[in-house]
Amino acid sequence: MWSLKRKTTGEALFDLANNIIMLCLCFVTLYPIWYVIVNAFNNGSDAMQGGIYWWPRMFSLENFKAVFASPGIMLAMWITVAKTLVGTVTHVFFTAMVAYAFSRRNLIGGKIYILMGTVTLFFGGGLIPTFLLIKDLHLLDNFLVYIIPVLFSFFDLIIFMTFFRDIPEGLEEAARMDGANDWSIFLRVVIPVSMPVIATIALFHGVYQWNDYFAGIIYVNNPDLQPVQTFLYRVVAQSSSNQMITAVQGSNLVKSVTSQSIKLATMIVTTLPIVFVYPFLQRYFVKGMMLGSIKG
């Protein structure tokens, strides 16, 4: 790119070696996932013998059918979808709103508010005091425990704030001339021009919501409220082999599937949505990571 001269032998060798190393790295990244995929698309009892590396030996869709036929797994999926949608929209909106106020240099008390937030980056109450608070707020076994305790994040606020401070003042001034107040400026001027940073935070928080299993473990006992990651944790970590089969009882597919093969299929089904979304948001989150790193 920067060199217009002919490549020397050393340069050519370097490029060749570098390309090969990168290809190996891609293989090391993708193959572990591929291995799970081919096993999930294989007849469950046959897969128990092992040895399926590149392609299914006895191709079968039964595992996936069993997943979609299981009321327990499907309910957990819906909980995950609901908490991800509601959680992401409210987190992004609330954090952006506070960030907009904090980003305004004429905000009275702004320095104190920002100091209050900065303290939380370095020190917190920890597991038990937070648990006791959640209990006192009657959020245990409550869907809102997935939303309210993560409604706001000061770290995300910093990313928003860095972005908002770069918005040309002329935009806001023009709206103010037309009689707009701070609230409508936030809604009609700031949000529309901040889509890159909104997409970034939405992706970060959406992934957190989608993948988090810990809230479901410590705050929720009711199985009807557990997200799919918590459900998977219970079968993966406790690896009690009957649970998966119990979960799909009522379907007559049980014979060709095993607890292991349904587990793999569930893993794939829960991961697919994110895998399809993130490449499209790549240019946003790369920028967002930079914004987050400038401050500091």
Partner: protein
Amino acid sequence: MENKRSAEPAGGMTPLIPANHKTGTGTGNRPSLWRRMTAQKHLQTMALLGVIWMIIFNYIPMYGIIIAFKDYNIVKSIAEAPWVGLTHFREFMEDENLVNVIKNTLGISLFKLVIGFPLPIIFALFLNEIRSVRFKKSIQTISYLPHFLSWVVLGGILATWLSDVGIINNILLALGLIDQPISYLAEPNYFRGIVITSDIWKELGWSAIIYLAAISGVSPEMYEAATIDGAGRFQKMWYVTLPAIKATISILFILAVSGVLNSNFDQILVLRNALNDSASNVIDYYVYYTGILSGRFSYSTAVGLLKSVIALILLLIANSVSKKINDTSLF
């Protein structure tokens, strides 16, 4: 500047301070604080909603830490619980798990620091040398993929790989390196290796983003000048690219050092089990175990507090060392 009051948004956006408050002109020719606050009531409302959230979800738990110095019982309130001073801290110092818990935590963290920290930098440096823009973009996209898998799913992948009929045992058996399958996740000896390898696999590409972003800011003229001076590829990496990301490296290193007492709890909880407990019981798990699973709230809080305080001290030390050595610091 005029603030229109007509466009009052509905619901939850009313001022939090009673409107009948005295609105004097205050001393001097500056309007009073109250007058200035009401002049920006929308802005204040937005800010205070965030402040209230922080008070509830950040500062009330900080107050809750006092149970570390009390004998807290779930049926009474925090204020009612009797003070016991440093009893719980002393108990932790005499706890038979203490040495093992610290050894496990530091063992994993130090390996992550020594191996896991430099690898993303090296990856970013070499990725930057890829000439085809398209190939570079594709590698980047692929390298981010594992970051988006949850630890539960990755735990499932590892369990599949490491099972008795999994690919690892199959290969080692075929090569004749082992006689019978090994249950890796049930063996304490393999725990640290599994944790570190899976962490690197998951986060290598993602951690490199920030370095790649810093590298993209290097002017191409720097490379041209280096080429004219006869610099080879490695020399350019060393003398042009690396200095450009030095500040980023320092900041991330400060954070990594201050985080040595942290474990990736999501990861540990997925990979640990009763059989590998002697290697997988880290401070964070011990806090979870004593607190949530055994109900020793005060004791668990004391252990957690000790950890946070040491982490804070480590951060301050790392920060001031970095400030002295290479003039980069967090604050």
